[in-house]
């Protein structure tokens, strides 16, 4: 079942912060985050496994609350290069294939 992402779109000025949320109605084993720039393939950002972990990647970090079946992606001090569409992908319990949400379009302006 497809995870739900929010917001659908967000516009930031350089240096501002943003949070993108991803929720599922099914029990999750892992959550992936990818970024896709216009006309390009999705690029991996990070994977979070069940256990409620939080990960960081430069100024981009994420958390995973397995009890709530939710994950959030945090972008701090945004840069122009952060612009793109962010997708969360969820893996259910039992080694199921990755299912992606509809994406959140992030635009960072100067």
């Amino acid at each position: 079942q497809q995870p739900v992402q929010s917001p659908q779109a967000v516009i930031l000025r350089e240096g501002e912060d943003a949070v993108i949320n991803c929720s599922s109605s099914k029990a999750l084993y892992s959550v992936h985050w990818y970024r896709q720039k216009h006309g390009e393939a999705p690029v991996f950002l990070m994977i979070l496994l069940k256990g409620g972990e939080q990960k960081g990647h430069d100024k981009i970090s994420a958390s995973f609350n397995e009890k709530k079946q939710q994950s959030s992606l945090y972008l701090t001090a945004s840069q122009l290069s952060y612009s793109g569409t962010y997708f969360c992908g969820t893996e259910g319990v039992g080694n199921t294939p990755l299912v992606f949400g509809k994406g959140t379009r992030l635009s960072v302006i100067a």
Partner: protein
């Protein structure tokens, strides 16, 4: 090292025709997954293959089929094309095929059905 390569990059077909899309995974990767991405939407899972066996199938009609070859490359076949099949078809490879692995995506094949 070469990334995931897909061919062709663009394709135009008419309704009712058949199409074959090809994917070569990263060297050493044994799993290939196929996704369909309609403009403005997230990638929709079609198939996953690992070691030449189908490991998963998404909610797509039987007109869609795929296979994986001994060298781990893969083909996606779509028969009796419909206008709604127009989309970007992405191939992704991973090492062992579990859902907890990082996926490496190719640049995709843009299919237009007229």
């Amino acid at each position: 090292d070469a990334g995931v390569t897909q061919s062709p990059t663009h394709l135009i077909k008419t309704r009712g025709q058949h199409v074959t899309l090809r994917c070569s995974p990263i060297s050493g990767h044994k799993s290939v997954s196929w996704y369909q991405q309609v403009l403005g939407q997230g990638p929709q899972f079609i198939f996953q293959y690992y070691e030449k066996e189908e490991r998963g199938r998404g909610n797509f009609p039987d007109r869609f089929s795929a296979r994986q070859f001994p060298n781990y490359s893969s083909e996606l076949n779509v028969n009796a094309l419909l206008l709604g099949d127009s989309a970007l078809y992405l191939c992704a490879s991973s090492l062992g095929g579990t859902g907890s692995e990082k996926l490496f995506f190719g640049s995709g094949t843009q299919l237009s059905v007229l």
